[in-house]
């Protein structure tokens, strides 16, 4: 007899759930709350696992990931990363397109800190995976290209050498596919494709459609084939690319507070799973527990038309968020099961 999937996975598959699943995208904040050095936790499997497992115990979310870290893949591909005490890593030495091309062609997915993340997934699956779905992040094609070349370098390439831009995006999707496969092998049941670098006026709908969309579609298809649920996460204002995001064959969308849930529903339809869209900074970090509860309940009218909704933060929970607001967010779905 097959086991009932966990609540977040069930919602993504369109199955009946007893309540709306909740997923604050917990990251380095878990280390801070557990009294673990943030930089150490980014690099150490045991520390990161301990931080995230403690957060699962404390807040009881329905979905947990390792830390969101857009520098691990560029670093593994040859970019330089710097560290500041008490904060996260930052890419400080960008690559040239030719360097990135060669690195992506090698498709070495075990470089630098990448193994930390698949091992954290494996350890979390063992420790909390029976009650909380464990996911993994991979950078989306254009976000990986932008992280490695720099936002300006990638944007320049898009106009000056669109063939190269397309080639890099395609290879980046292949790189993400290999990372996703490793994560699923380690126990991930959800793979979130992080693609913030297509929003906020960065790419035109046409650029998105021709350069980024094919890679995302293939990546999502592969993730399903590996047996996990793909979710595309685009934080910030999706603006002009929203219709393109909604036209990805029903791929689940995770959106941020500048993108109203109602607009996503209207564009993507009720069968597309949607995650979102609490404001991480102004609600989770700056708000009171009462304001967080009210914001969660405010999602009701907007999400009412969705059959597959997960209450989530619009992006990773800020480092300095207090535990009280995180608890309020996770409690809100228990106290109002249907929102």
């Amino acid at each position: 007899m097959s086991r009932q999937p966990l609540r977040a996975v069930a919602a993504l598959r369109g199955l009946e759930t007893d309540r709306v699943p909740v997923a604050p995208l917990l990251g380095a904040v878990s280390a801070r709350l557990a009294g673990i050095d943030v930089c150490d936790a980014y690099r150490d499997v045991a520390l990161q696992t301990r931080a995230q497992a403690a957060a699962v115990d404390a807040f009881e979310p329905d979905l947990i990931f390792p830390f969101m870290d857009l520098t691990a893949e560029p670093e593994a591909l040859g970019a330089r990363v710097s560290w500041r005490p008490g904060s996260g890593p930052e890419v400080c030495g960008m690559l040239q397109p030719e360097q990135l091309l060669m690195a992506l062609e090698r498709c070495e997915v075990h470089g630098a800190r990448l193994p930390v993340y698949s091992q954290v997934v494996g350890a979390l699956s063992q420790s909390v995976g029976h009650t909380c779905a464990v996911g993994a992040y991979v950078s989306g094609p254009w976000t990986l290209v932008s992280s490695a070349l720099g936002l300006a370098g990638a944007a320049r390439l898009m106009r000056r050498d669109p063939d190269m831009a397309g080639r890099l995006a395609q290879l980046a999707a292949g790189f993400a596919r290999e990372l996703a496969r490793e994560a699923v092998d380690a126990g991930a049941v959800v793979i979130m494709i992080l693609e913030p670098c297509v929003a906020g006026g960065i790419l035109s709908p046409a650029d998105f459609g021709t350069v980024v969309r094919p890679g995302i579609l293939q990546l999502a298809q592969s993730i399903r084939r590996y047996g996990a649920e793909p979710v595309l996460h685009v934080c910030g204002d999706t603006g002009p690319v929203l219709s393109g995001l909604a036209d990805l064959g029903g791929l689940a969308l995770s959106v941020d507070h500048p993108t109203p849930l109602g607009r996503v529903l209207e564009a993507a339809g009720p069968d597309t799973p949607i995650m979102g869209n609490l404001d991480p900074v102004n609600t989770l970090m700056r708000g009171t527990p009462e304001q967080v509860t009210a914001a969660c309940r405010g999602c009701l009218p907007a999400a009412a038309g969705s059959k597959r909704f997960i209450l989530a933060t619009g992006c990773e929970v800020p480092l300095l968020s207090p535990p009280e607001t995180l608890r309020a967010m996770c409690r809100s779905v228990v106290e109002s099961p249907s929102l």
Partner: protein, 217 residues
């Protein structure tokens, strides 16, 4: 050769489409025809302003801004000696030191502001993320404007600290302070004594331009 008005129009079009070769060719023709270098710069500046407005309306996107800025920069390299000969000493519109007071993965906004400022002809010193107040003040010695971004409300007090330290260092009068970022507001900017608040990259650039005596267009 097209008449002067046409040439200016073609130059503007070359900038807008990021056609460096056409921009340089048209500028050479204008200089040969005796057009003042300042007029050439004014034409390019107007083209960049037009592009900025179209960016705000989602009619053009970051790659378009980047290639236009590249073309602008190439033509400026050609025109710069003529500007100097005319007595227009500084080829750049002004110097901006830009940084985030504390970082997370969301420094895309700061990167866009940097690109838009450079596209508008400013010389930008990127201080990066997690920049302490003292570093901003050090940079103020070489900048007309400090652009300070905060991504988290808990780090917003650093902005006020910068203003206080500028006063103590007697640099406040000579340095404009421009603040922005997700949790920042115009009210907050006024409360801490900043000179202005940019709700987005285009607004920030408009303010910076107005401070440099050009007036926001």
């Amino acid at each position: 050769m097209p008449d002067t008005q046409d040439a200016h129009s073609h130059l503007a079009q070359a900038i807008i489409t990021g056609d460096e070769a056409a921009g340089i060719a048209m500028s050479r023709e204008l200089l040969s025809a005796g057009e003042p270098a300042t007029d050439i710069v004014a034409t390019m500046a107007a083209a960049m302003t037009q592009l900025g407005a179209r960016f705000q309306r989602n009619e053009v996107f970051l790659p378009d801004i980047i290639v236009a800025a590249d073309a602008f920069e190439q033509v400026m390299a050609l025109v710069d000696p003529h500007l100097r000969a005319q007595g227009a000493v500084s080829a750049s519109r002004g110097r901006v030191a830009l940084g985030v007071v504390a970082g997370d993965i969301h420094d895309i906004g700061k990167s866009i502001v940097k690109i838009m400022l450079e596209a508008a002809g400013f010389a930008v010193l990127d201080l990066g993320n997690d920049v302490p107040a003292t570093r901003f003040v050090e940079a103020a010695g070489d900048a007309d404007i400090l652009g300070i971004s905060a991504l988290m409300s808990t780090t917003m007090p650093v902005m006020e600290e910068v203003v206080t330290l500028l006063e103590q260092a007697r640099l406040r009068e000579s340095t404009k302070v421009l603040v922005g970022g997700a949790p920042v507001s115009a009210d907050f900017a006024r409360a801490i004594g900043a000179d202005g608040y940019g709700a987005d990259a285009v607004e920030g650039v408009k303010l910076a331009r107005s401070w440099m005596g050009e007036g926001a267009q």
